[in-house]
Assembly symmetry: C2
């Protein structure tokens, strides 16, 4: 039995450049586009790939914290700006910290399952370069519990949270095992980004990435157990993807081979007021992966491509374990051995991930889905991998906060 009451497809994905340090176009003192510009650019980039956009019945915008970075809420109000036929149609902004984009995917699918629209436009956006990184870190800390854990928290709250996870892993699994795995994660991220013209690290020319990835933590300047290369970037960007029913696909003139089937998702919410049960595990991501595999009726070995939420290198390693590709404590060695490279046993974050492409937080879940769609439909350009016909599935796992809000979604190549 299918998880969904009817067939759902995803197609026509588009994401913007991830703008921020590292991109040639970026200069901290120069004026940059506003959040509405990004929404419009991503929306139009998607619409250009379809016919009859008037069939788009509804919009969703995933965004984490524009109220602070851009002093802007009521974000659905930018939907009618994207296309004249969107005027007076519904649009909902959803928020779940860095998983806001993941929640947007779910909301877009639901509207179709509810028979309220045949075609929905799923968008995600974040603009973060509007303030200095230290203020941005405070804004992003809204993903943690203000009245609880944040009271005595680090100025760089989330880097510190994942630094503590790295420290716990060093203790349990050994620094000499973990650190090279983290460094290799960084190497893969940049290597993939160099194939993706929209990636923030596209222009990265560093000749010895592994040495950079191995940089020792400097607790006085940053965090106790991680270095700045372990962190995803501060980014401005947006992503948009179309979801449709079978009828919707016809209405917008997209052939099935250019679309990808959405097979199942799992949205899992952990309690924000309780500490993580185990710093050496992404327990909520694990629950989400287990549930989505079960709903899709597949196993990890059926995936040809994977997108995980590597806000930090250590999160990438733990996410690989949570997704069922490496045993507990074995993620670092699995990655160090090359399994997650584009030509590895499970190509992961093939367009650069959060560390290589960038992390415009509210856009990230949508961007992940687009990359899975692009890989499964052969549209991934220079970073295209080969899809083994016996493993026609791809998965994304999008995470908000410290493993608190998770969406995992499985997509399948069409026949």
């Amino acid at each position: 039995m299918s998880f969904f009451r009817k067939k759902i497809y995803a197609c026509a994905g588009f994401y913007t450049i991830s703008l921020g340090t590292g991109r040639k176009e970026f200069h901290p003192k120069k004026p940059r586009p506003g959040i509405e510009h990004y929404i419009k650019e991503a929306g139009l980039g998607t619409i250009e790939q379809i016919e009859n956009p008037e069939n788009i019945g509804e919009g969703v915008i995933g965004n984490f914290v524009a109220e602070r970075f851009c002093r802007q809420g009521n974000l659905g109000g930018f939907f009618p700006m994207v296309h004249p036929t969107f005027q007076y149609k519904p649009c909902t902004r959803v928020e779940g910290a860095c998983d806001s984009g993941g929640l947007a995917l779910v909301a877009s699918v639901k509207t179709i399952l509810a028979d309220l629209a045949d075609v929905t436009l799923c968008m995600g956006v974040e603009v973060q370069n509007s303030v200095k990184a230290i203020y941005g870190a405070d804004y992003l800390a809204a993903a943690g519990w203000f009245s609880g854990e944040r009271k005595n928290g680090h100025a760089y709250f989330f880097p510190d949270q994942f630094s503590q996870r790295a420290g716990a892993c060093f203790d349990k699994f050994g620094y000499d095992n973990m650190r090279p795995g983290m460094a290799q994660w960084y190497v893969n991220a940049i290597d993939n980004a160099r194939k993706n013209p929209k990636a923030q690290e596209y222009h990265n020319k560093n000749a010895d990435l592994f040495a950079t990835g191995m940089t020792k933590a400097n607790p006085k300047a940053f965090c106790e157990y991680i270095n700045v290369f372990d962190c995803s970037k501060v980014s401005d960007g947006a992503a948009a993807l179309i979801f449709t029913s079978e009828e919707g696909l016809e209405k917008i003139g997209v052939e099935k081979k250019d679309a990808v089937e959405v097979v199942a998702y799992a949205q899992v919410q952990d309690n924000l007021t309780t500490p993580p049960p185990d710093l050496t595990k992404l327990s909520t991501c694990e629950v989400a992966a287990r549930r989505v595999y079960e709903r899709a009726g597949i196993e990890a070995k059926d995936l040809s491509v994977l997108e995980v939420h590597d806000c930090f290198t250590v999160a990438g390693l733990l996410a690989i374990e949570a997704a069922g590709f490496a045993g507990y404590g074995e993620g670092a060695a699995f990655v160090k051995d090359g399994n997650t490279k584009r030509d590895g046993s499970i190509p992961t974050n093939t367009s650069g991930g959060l560390i290589g492409y960038g992390h415009p937080t509210g856009a990230t879940g949508v961007r992940q889905a687009i990359d899975v769609v692009h890989q499964l439909s052969g549209k991934a350009g220079d970073y295209q991998i080969e899809i083994d016909p016996s493993r026609p599935y791809g998965m994304l796992s999008s995470m908000g906060g410290n493993d608190k809000t998770v969406v995992a979604m499985i997509l399948k190549k069409t026949e």
Copy 2:
């Protein structure tokens, strides 16, 4: 033909006291409960009215701008705090400025229509007394376009927006027509609130409400065309309501007579980057009302009870016109004549509305739905009106920003 693909019911609504100036419990210098407390109180108040809460499959939280008032995002993370069986279930926060609660209603209904849950818990929350009113006004201005209209905007941005609407109405329909209508709106709001123990104006003892409502504007201290009594309050509060399918109703042990049927909704999004087409009209609210009547197959005259978004008295008058109860420019006289009183032709905002009950922004749309449910199922206590069996419908219209984001929903008394 029904608008929905299957029957949807609402039941077991609960909202907290609207805490703020006017309430005896309120003192600006005394510590007050945090946002998570309100979510929990409203959620538990709802759950206590049902059996087997483990059947609640999903949560939604409507909230406008906790990132600023409470420095808190990732709000879905408070859902598992409400009840132990909610751990690892999905919860999505939705935002559409002051219509965030309206969007929560829609999202809760969709999940059931999508066959993803039989029972959903719809919540809305806002805590606004954490800062001085002038800062709060700036936070709430996030509902307007930051890079556009807000650049040279008033410090009290939204009061000024609706003051300008009042001024335009004074010009077009006459001050001596409009002002008494606005004053009467205030009178009704307080009069209804005095019957609602949870209302912020419950303790209001003013003997000449009409004279107070007629207070002249003082542009030097506040706005050009409105006085402070024309404004909804600064409030802390939350609301929660359960939506179910037919099967869901049985699972949670609620009899049909204690529930209300959700017949249709309309969610309408206007472009945030364009000015309102006519200051003397709520054009988007009008589109929403027209659509929802058509979808429900009814007319305004079939409603026994109405909830409109009276963030300001003038908005109340214009909302009555938008809902089809008074012609263009005739709202003030319609209200002045007593038509919207509890014993009038269309009892409106019977629990006090945003001016009488209070306006914890993200909770408001949910609170409105609860009051319609309570009236139609005979649970409105001291402010209960009589429901004419030939008019078994109630409607709520929830608005975000300056007539930008609107949800209208029609509910029906069960037989």
